[in-house]
Symmetry: C2
Subunit: 256 residues, 2 copies
């Protein structure tokens, strides 16, 4: 059965989508079949694969409102080995669609079981919030990756996520564990990054990946080229760091 | 009557909170009385003024659930001339509290009228979403400021906000106008920033502020020092750019 990994952070702009897209490509490069599901109504996963609104036929939210057949909305990225399910850019309050019925937290978990048989990894890109959409992702996932930008606000936002994960694990998903916390946009030339990354490693001990993702312009150009960094600049520090991350992930199992 | 300005972007991490906090201090420096209301459950406004959970007595959401007396939850920043109302870090689905009754979109507008008489400017820091909380802010505001980080994903997220603003203006708030779009974290040494800022100025024409906010480490240190940049490094490019913004804002009136 494939692993389901949610990429979560309440803090905005910390590298959730960049991590989802580049890790997806890296795991596929290492011979694993990957599906990336976009739960964020901004729809930046499609943008990262160079797909505009005319390339999209059906999305996660429209599938969930019509009998939840997610297989019907799987889109090709143009590269064999990884596919994606777009989010619906038009819908505003996505949370509403997942509010249906008593099992609202478990809706996503039920529909993903079928897909787990077809992919080695299912990655879920979450919106910058801890509302209903993210809760569904945490209930449905086997593990979570938490990108942490090396800046102060990002550090402050961690407490609530740790609390929510504990609650979800207790009430809905006892097998949920941390794949790891990932330091992103790290610039070790500046003090701020150093101070924050030291604090994170001190507070979270072994839960932090050894691999760090440096601030690297190639990663910011992913939506411009419409492809993961390894496809347009394989030797860049950005592309290499996500390949390192995939290797580190495959060598360890999760922790909690 | 004081102006109410919402600082809005669906895209995370573009500088909404940094803009709210530093613009608040700059407007006050130019002799205007300012109130900053935090609608984002991350609660980073309090962090920016060096206030932790033990300094907070009551917040926006607790006031809204108890007869909506916002004056009772106004907190001092420690500096005369500007105050703030913290958000509630504990609540997850803040949207729910504003869902009450048929006039749900107008709830905030009604309670702010009283405060408008006491402040020249009321700034509202919004969460990275276009859900119910942000809708309330748009309905209640006289104008909006949209920070745009000079990167590709931020550019892609703009369309939905423009559409939502048109709808809110038509249905609920005919006087709503754009104070302006603000280019943030601009690094003119790199091509990406240049390309995106040119595209933004070309697409949005006169709606973009002349003032740009450069990427400047002093702005990222605001939550570390617990005060706006002008209070710990007045000559920094970051602090000066927000003072320029305040001056530009005071010289122009809004546009739409
Ligand atoms: N390591 C990096 N180096 C340079 N730029 C980066 C890096 N990681 C991400 N970026 C850029 O920083 C911005 C924020 O990243 P991204 O959009 O992936 O974050 P996010 O957490 O998904 O944001 P949101 O909360 O809006 O969903 C983007 O413009 C992205 O291109
Ligand atoms: N001009 C700047 N130069 C350098 N760093 C900046 C600048 N503006 C903001 N930052 C830093 O970038 C990060 C994102 O900024 P901020 O948190 O203000 O954005 P936001 O839009 O409020 O995020 P969210 O969507 O999570 O509410 C923060 O760590 C902040 O300190
Ligand atoms: Mg994202
Ligand atoms: Mg913010």
């Amino acid at each position: 059965m494939g692993e389901i990994i949610a990429i979560v952070s309440q803090k905005g702009g910390v590298g959730k989508t960049t991590t989802a897209v580049n890790l997806c490509a890296s795991l596929s490069y290492l011979k694993h079949k990957v599906l990336l599901i976009d739960l964020d109504p901004q729809g930046h996963v499609a943008t990262s694969f160079g797909k505009g609104k005319y390339d999209i036929n059906g999305d996660f939210y429209s599938a969930m409102s019509n009998g939840a057949n997610l297989s019907a909305v799987i889109h090709s990225t143009g590269v064999k080995g990884y596919d994606f399910i777009p989010s619906n850019v038009e819908s505003d309050e996505d949370d509403k669609k997942l509010y249906i019925a008593p099992l609202r937290e478990k809706r996503l978990k039920h529909v993903l079981t079928k897909l787990q048989a077809e992919y080695d990894y299912i990655l879920i890109d979450c919106p910058p919030a801890l509302g209903n959409v993210t809760c569904n992702a945490l209930v449905a996932s086997t593990s979570i990756i938490v990108p942490i930008q090396c800046e102060f606000y990002a550090l402050k936002s961690l407490g609530k996520l740790l609390k929510l994960t504990r609650t979800i694990k207790k009430l809905y998903n006892p097998d949920l564990e941390y794949k790891g916390f990932l330091l992103t946009m790290v610039d070790l030339r500046n003090n701020l990054s150093k101070r924050v990354s030291n604090k994170v490693r001190y507070t979270l001990k072994g839960l932090v990946f050894d691999t760090i993702i440096p601030r690297n312009i190639r990663l910011a150009e992913v939506p411009y080229y419409g492809k993961p960094a390894m496809l347009f600049d394989k030797r860049s520090k950005g592309a290499e760091s996500y390949l390192d991350l995939a290797r580190e992930m495959l060598n360890h199992h999760g922790t909690i």
